[in-house]
Symmetry: C2
Subunit: 220 residues, 2 copies
């Protein structure tokens, strides 16, 4: 199982603010995400600008696509994204079309899990060729008190077993990392716990130290 | 039951192309929608520009919000949207927060139905105060051959009975309108069947004539 990556989520409402945080933090993370709020505020320029600013990083277009998988995947990958998210509620045809475009561009699709998805859905996504999913505590669910629990971890294990690598998000702190020891974690996604930290470099280092402690160092 | 409205969906990848169609068609429709593709391409400027171009029309921000309901609703309504869409997979907390902002702005939330939603979900949305939903044949599902059928109509009737007015979309033509006679239809949403028509004004007139034939004229 490969070592989980660290992903910076940028959910700013303006591009200059997002670029400022990306400029500071990109050297400490593996993946830079153009978040949904940023993309709905600034459009495709958000993805393009992050691609230009961070030429060596994996760029995620967190668009939570529900329909028009082909058109949106073409837009995202042409703008420089490596990965694009599709919401779990999307029809399978949307997943298939998005994945086909991703493949032709050397990119990947991540299924974003919210609400009523099933393991049967997950198997269907895997059959289309998709190999990643994102497991959430939503921002609003989190604010209303929902914690990581056994039920989450059991579902994540089942998804891992199907063959989906999981990115984990929703108020993740370095202390949370150990919870996910038995899971095939692709990335830990952090936004405000990195960009909002008094010392962002140190906050990132704490994430990496926790990841190293469980999955081994980068050179291991 | 009030007469269904006609909604123009703008799913262009550039704002100038969208504005050109909106300028031609706005006088023939009741609602102008900033579609997801357009919003991910052009950002919040898509909503603002349509608000400016169409001061008397209902403007929809079709953002299919899955999280961060408060922040995104503030963005959408501040930019001039009257209605904002939330995807059915969103946590209930997101629906509640989006609806609260909508109410404070005199706006409305529309729940966008894709994938595995339930009537229990629909009752929960209604309890939050939401009164609208959007029933789809997705673009990709439609392209893969999915037709309107009895199962769709039965689900739409059940949603109507819960108290949700439905906007209907997915390759709708004037000939389809009669199918929805027994449903509380808020709006028929058409994109390419209006903007792509050889004579868009005539295409819109055909929609209105079909709506009038079933629900009565605008002054009825």
């Amino acid at each position: 199982m490969s070592r989980p990556l660290l992903q910076l989520a940028l959910d700013h409402t303006t591009l200059p603010a997002a670029l400022q945080d990306a400029a500071v933090l990109q050297e400490y993370v593996d993946i830079v995400e153009a978040g949904t709020i940023l993309c709905l505020s600034e459009g495709i320029n958000a993805v393009k600008a992050l691609r230009n600013l961070c030429p060596k990083k994996i760029i995620v277009a967190d668009w939570k696509v529900a329909d028009a998988g082909e058109t949106l995947a073409e837009q995202a990958f042409r703008a420089g994204a490596n990965w694009m998210t599709i919401i779990c509620a999307a029809p399978l045809a949307t997943v298939e079309k998005g994945h086909a475009v991703a493949q032709s561009c050397g990119g990947e699709i991540q299924m974003e899990l919210f609400g009523n998805w099933t393991l049967e859905d997950a198997r269907a996504w895997h059959r289309t060729g998709v190999r990643q999913a994102i497991y959430h505590r939503g921002r609003d669910a989190q604010a209303s008190g929902q914690q990581w629990g056994e039920a989450d971890l059991a579902k994540m294990k089942a998804l891992s077993d199907i063959g989906l690598a999981l990115s984990v998000t929703g108020g993740i702190t370095p202390e949370d990392v150990a919870l996910f020891k038995g899971i095939h974690v692709k990335a830990f996604i952090a936004g405000r716990s990195l960009a909002g930290a008094a010392d962002p470099a140190r906050a990132a280092a704490e994430f990496h130290a926790q990841i190293d402690a469980i999955w081994g160092g980068r050179d291991a």
